[in-house]
């Protein structure tokens, strides 16, 4: 369960996120959509405790991310934008480091690591330095790190960016498989991804929520019935006609 209330963040004169409120419940996969610079990543950074909000609060499974940071972060798996990892480490070493941080040891650590590796199909590259891996593999290492401790809440910033179609399919299968009892937020630019795995789509523009509905309901708002039309309409003010022509 993620409870975001009246979240606001400014960077100097620029309002990145303005008065954003959102409650995501277990079983929901929320697709976070919006043009570049809309405030998706900033919201996620605040929800995971990396950035302090100017105003408002975020609660992860009831734990406030600012006042009860560690308890909240324990319940959380996070894939940051760009899937950063220590490049000189191999995926095996990196995941070992994460098991240590997640206080898993012995059989529990082995089981968790094997599950994360199998889920993200990292078997072939376990002993190559992460910096030598392709973008797709690096993304999957980041994903493995996020799901390692089987968290209640997953926040994934562009989990399928840089993956080929087969890998995208696999990662979507993985997310769908975890969706039953978890609370998941994914940000993405791929509208087909929202239709494929999300139970709910939230579109934000200039730091504010401009739409919040099921993907089907959103798509149904335009005559064409296409999600990209409603996206373009809400975030640029374009008419549906010009969108449909594209």
């Amino acid at each position: 369960m993620i409870e975001i209330q009246n979240l606001t963040k400014r960077f100097g004169p620029v309002a990145a996120v303005t008065d954003l409120s959102l409650i995501v419940r277990p079983g929901e996969v929320l697709g976070f959509l919006g043009p570049n610079g809309a405030g998706k990543s900033t919201t996620m950074k605040m929800a995971t405790g990396y950035l302090a909000p100017d105003q408002g609060s975020v609660r992860i499974c009831g734990h406030d991310i600012v006042s009860d940071t560690i308890a909240a972060q324990k319940r959380l798996g996070y894939l940051p934008e760009g899937a950063p990892a220590y490049g000189e480490m191999t995926p095996r070493q990196f995941l070992h480091f994460i098991t240590g941080i997640r206080e898993l040891s012995g059989a529990a650590a082995r089981t968790a690591t094997e599950r994360a590796i199998a889920g993200t199909e990292l078997q072939g590259v376990l002993d190559q330095p992460i910096e030598t891996l392709s973008k797709g593999f690096r993304r999957r290492v980041g994903l493995a790190q996020a799901i390692l401790h089987d968290p209640d809440v997953l926040i994934l910033d562009e989990p399928t960016d840089g993956l080929d179609p087969n890998q995208k399919h696999a990662v979507r299968g993985l997310i769908r498989g975890m969706a039953k009892d978890k609370t998941i937020i994914i940000s993405t630019h791929l509208l087909e991804e929202v239709e494929a795995i999300c139970t709910r789509a939230v579109i934000i523009d200039q730091g504010r929520i401009v739409a919040d509905a099921t993907p089907a309901a959103l798509a149904g708002r335009t005559p064409s019935g296409r999600l990209d039309d409603i996206f373009r309409q809400l975030t640029t003010g374009d008419t549906v006609a010009s969108g449909a022509a594209a």
Partner: protein, 244 residues
């Protein structure tokens, strides 16, 4: 506390994942040897002690330790792993301490590898090994103090070169704060107690006291307080930058 080990171990191993550890240790040992034997005329002194060797430690640390510390935080910021590190459930003080201890342990390792010079001086004569041990302890403490300054500066920037240069300058001021270069800037206007306080920050003075063979509690407390102070500042800087 259980988390201190993974943070420490990751950081410590990262030195050995690249040629950094090798280059640092080789340069460190080479410079130590070169200064002791060629600049310090170790043999010509005809005295079986290591005071010449230890006398150069502050000056070598001045450049080598900031080089070791500059990457501690700046690299995390540059590569984006800072975001990963700060969203993992690790209390900030554990991260700060773990990273610092890893760098300190690495410096300790480099220092231990200077043992051939200890063997040499014992082969040549009968040095006071108690004094040598005290000097090693003092040198290690001083290296920790330099490192804490470097770690603190590194946390304020994502640019390693800037981190290096500023660290060297700050370390230099602490090294020679007992010298006229620093004190004259204060003597004209500052009250005497302040001038004395500044001069008491001199690493050289505290280190010289220890290398004389006496580990005075005050000198130990001085170095540990300084480490504590800069690590605390390090923590505040990381925390402050969360506010964007």
């Amino acid at each position: 506390m259980n988390l201190l080990w993974p943070v420490f171990a990751r950081e410590f191993r990262s030195y050995f994942a690249t040629p950094l550890a090798f280059v640092f240790i080789v340069i460190f040992l080479f410079a130590m040897g070169a200064f002791t034997f060629y600049v310090g005329h170790f043999y010509d002194n005809g005295v079986a002690d290591l005071s010449v060797f230890f006398g150069y430690h502050p000056w070598l640390y001045l450049f080598l330790v900031p080089a070791l510390a500059m990457r501690l935080w700046a690299e995390e910021r540059r590569s984006g792993t800072m975001e990963l590190l700060l969203t993992l459930p690790v209390p900030l003080w554990v991260t700060v301490l773990g990273k610092f201890l890893a760098a300190w342990a690495f410096t300790g390792l480099a220092l231990l590898l200077t043992f051939p010079i200890w063997l040499t001086v014992n082969y040549l004569g009968h040095p006071d090994n108690g004094v040598i041990l005290a000097s090693y302890v003092g040198s290690f403490l001083m290296a920790g103090a330099y490192l804490s300054i470097g770690a603190c500066v590194s946390s304020a920037t994502s640019n390693q070169v800037i981190a290096f240069i500023i660290s060297v300058v700050v370390c230099f001021l602490f090294t020679i704060s007992g010298a006229p270069l620093v004190l004259d800037a204060f003597r004209g206007w500052a009250p005497l107690p302040l001038v004395e306080a500044i001069s008491s920050f001199s690493f050289l003075t505290h280190f010289a006291a220890i290398t004389a063979g006496v580990i005075d509690l005050r000198d130990v407390v001085f170095f540990f307080s300084l480490i504590g102070l800069f690590l605390y500042a390090n923590m505040l800087i990381v925390d402050l930058r969360k506010s964007g």
